[in-house]
Amino acid sequence: MKYRDMMLGCVFMVALVSLLTLGVVGLRTVVGMLLVMVVPVYFILSSFVSDDLERIVFSLFLGVGLVPALIYWPATVVSLKLTVVVVALVLVAVGFWLKRRRSKS
């Protein structure tokens, strides 16, 4: 089985268990956390960290610390909900840009 498929399978398992134990709110919270805080950092780290386990672990730990730090200041001025979406999208875009830049060079 390909590693990426396996990762998707693991995320699906996490989502399923979240739903079964904590309901829809649990599913939204856990999957939302992964999408907003972990996945964007994972994309960025993809250009720098080649080891799969390192990439997953550092994405999680840096994501839950640095993404809220990036959200804080803009959210003191504009909507928190809007900031969460914008910051996540900007980080994903940065990740893709870095990947493209790296594949070109």
Binding site: M1, V57, F58
Partner: protein, 516 residues
């Protein structure tokens, strides 16, 4: 047996699922918020940010009246750096409500140490030792208790220590092999900054472990182990990142300078250095069991395996062994700061399980390696030994851990339906001004009054003279639930004495709010 990265991923996912299912057990029995006063304060910041759809730059009145002075550098602002509470608030945003998502996020944050210990040990000692250690840590009673009591950021902050050490280890390995990998220094710098954001005490734990590891390696190798240019740049990066929250970062130093917990009793007592821990005079409110190895970590006989692990590392003294020894010694140093008259060292005690479980498992592994066995049988014997030890340990620690989480804050120890309805009224009320101070009569604990304060967005106190307050809550809901008619009658008399001099602003079957 060869383990692949697929095995690692499965192990990591299983541990994450364990964190998710086990550490949210208090939430699965009741969705009402729980915890002591610290929990209410952390919840308040996240919930208020979500409710206002804004991150707070200055404290709202109901938080400011209690915590306004906690930021010594700039009063009336957040006293912790914002990322931890912002992370909880982001959970609320994606979860679509305040209470349950905040607790789910906190359960995951609080148990992150399981994943970081797994990761570090996987890379240093292989999958069996890593998985066994992390699995045991999942049921660490001391970690569980501190999380459900409410020292939320402190729990999360400890999780960064193993990762910082991992980055330092890989950088030093690469430096000594003359194949420098500065990216690990960059990662280390970012992780250290996050560590400081989450909790300053844990940051100092990490710094102590990092410093000792560096010293151990320098002494062993008899040479410096960092490229000075790289080191200067990552220190600069660290300073830049932490300066994003200047008022909170400078508060750490302002508090260090004005620490009222200095001059603890026991200062300079040499005997203290030969005990792992000795409770201090100001440790009131922490149950005696919290200081017990057998009740918090594992049965007493497992101490032999901790020592065996230490012995194995001490005799071998590879760089990876030095790393774990540095972690252990740094913990000893932090727990013995009271010898210098410093700190609230009982809080450092909460980091013990993180290193003790790995040491036990390494001890078991090492013990089996001493047994003369055929070369092809030995790996299986080691694996079998670790599995057996883990199963025996799980039998002894799982029931307590699961029971504690399942029965956390039962019945009236959480805010009841009447009180939740009251808090909804307070939050929306224009007749109780935002800067009002209310007296809560009928409070069965300080924590419950704090929860009413937190959820009602009004400053509510549990003690005081009736004549000093313009707003009084007569709360019969808990007394009625525990069947204390005598207390209900006593409070009714008091309420009737106000009949001619007050207006009732809010009235439900068990709670009334008067304006006097």
């Amino acid at each position: 047996m060869k383990f692949t990265k697929q095995h690692d991923l499965i192990a990591l996912t299983l541990l994450f699922l364990g964190m998710l299912v086990l550490w949210t057990l208090p939430l699965q029995s009741s969705v009402a918020p729980y915890g002591e006063v610290d929990a209410a304060s952390h919840y308040a910041i996240a919930e208020f940010s979500y409710a206002q759809d804004r991150a707070m730059s200055s404290l709202p009145t109901f938080i400011d009246k209690r915590y306004g002075g906690d930021n010594k550098y700039k009063p009336h602002t957040l006293w912790y750096p914002p990322p931890f509470h912002m992370g909880l608030a982001v959970g609320s945003v994606v979860g679509g409500s305040a209470d349950v998502p905040i607790y789910i996020m906190n359960s995951l944050f609080g148990s992150l140490i399981v994943l970081s210990v797994f990761f570090l040990l996987r890379r240093l000692y292989g999958l069996p030792i890593a998985f066994a250690s992390a699995l045991l840590l999942l049921f660490s009673m001391r970690d569980i208790l501190i999380t459900i009591w409410g020292q939320w950021p402190e729990r999360m902050g400890f999780a960064y220590l193993p990762l910082v050490l991992y980055c330092a280890y890989l950088y030093i390995e690469s430096f000594l092999a003359k194949q420098e990998k500065p990216r690990y220094l960059v990662l280390m710098s970012l992780l250290l900054a996050v560590n400081l954001f989450i909790h300053p005490m844990d940051f100092f734990h990490t710094i102590a472990a990092l410093g000792l590891f560096t010293i151990f390696v320098v002494v062993k190798e008899r040479k410096w182990c960092f490229n000075t240019k790289h080191l200067s740049l990552v220190i600069l990066l660290f300073v830049l990142v932490v300066s994003v929250f200047p008022t909170q970062t400078l508060n750490v130093f302002a508090r260090l300078g004005s620490d009222s917990s200095l001059d603890q009793p026991g200062k300079g007592e040499v005997g203290r250095l030969f005990h792992w821990f000795s409770p201090q005079g100001d440790n009131n409110g922490v149950p005696a069991s919290y200081y017990s190895y057998s009740e918090m970590i594992a049965p007493s006989w497992t101490m032999a395996f901790v020592w065996l692990g230490v012995l194995a590392l001490g005799l071998r003294r590879n760089r990876k062994d030095l790393l774990l020894l540095a972690w252990l010694v740094s913990l000893y140093v932090m727990i013995h700061l009271d010898f210098l008259g410093m700190g609230r060292v009982h809080r450092s005690l909460s980091g013990t399980a993180h290193i003790f479980y790995p040491l036990m498992v390494i001890g078991v592994w090492q013990l089996i390696s001493f047994i003369p066995l055929k070369r092809d049988v030995k790996p299986l014997a080691k694996l079998g030994g670790v599995v057996l030890f883990t199963v025996v340990m799980l039998f002894s620690i799982v029931p307590g851990a699961v029971g504690t989480l399942k029965d956390a804050y039962p019945g009236i120890s959480r805010v009841n339906e009447d009180q939740i309805t009251l808090t909804r009224y307070l939050k929306a009320s224009s007749s109780v001004p935002e800067d009002a101070t209310l007296l809560h009569l009928g409070s069965i604990s300080l924590a419950k009054t704090r929860w009413i304060r937190t959820m009602g967005h009004r400053y509510v106190k549990d003690k005081g003279e009736l004549s000093d307050y313009s707003y009084v809550i007569f709360d019969y809901s808990d007394f009625a639930r525990i069947g204390r008619q005598d207390l209900v009658d006593g409070m009714l008399q008091l309420e009737q004495s106000l009949a001619n001099s007050s207006t009732v602003l809010y009235s439900s079957s068990n709670i009334r709010v008067h304006k006097t």
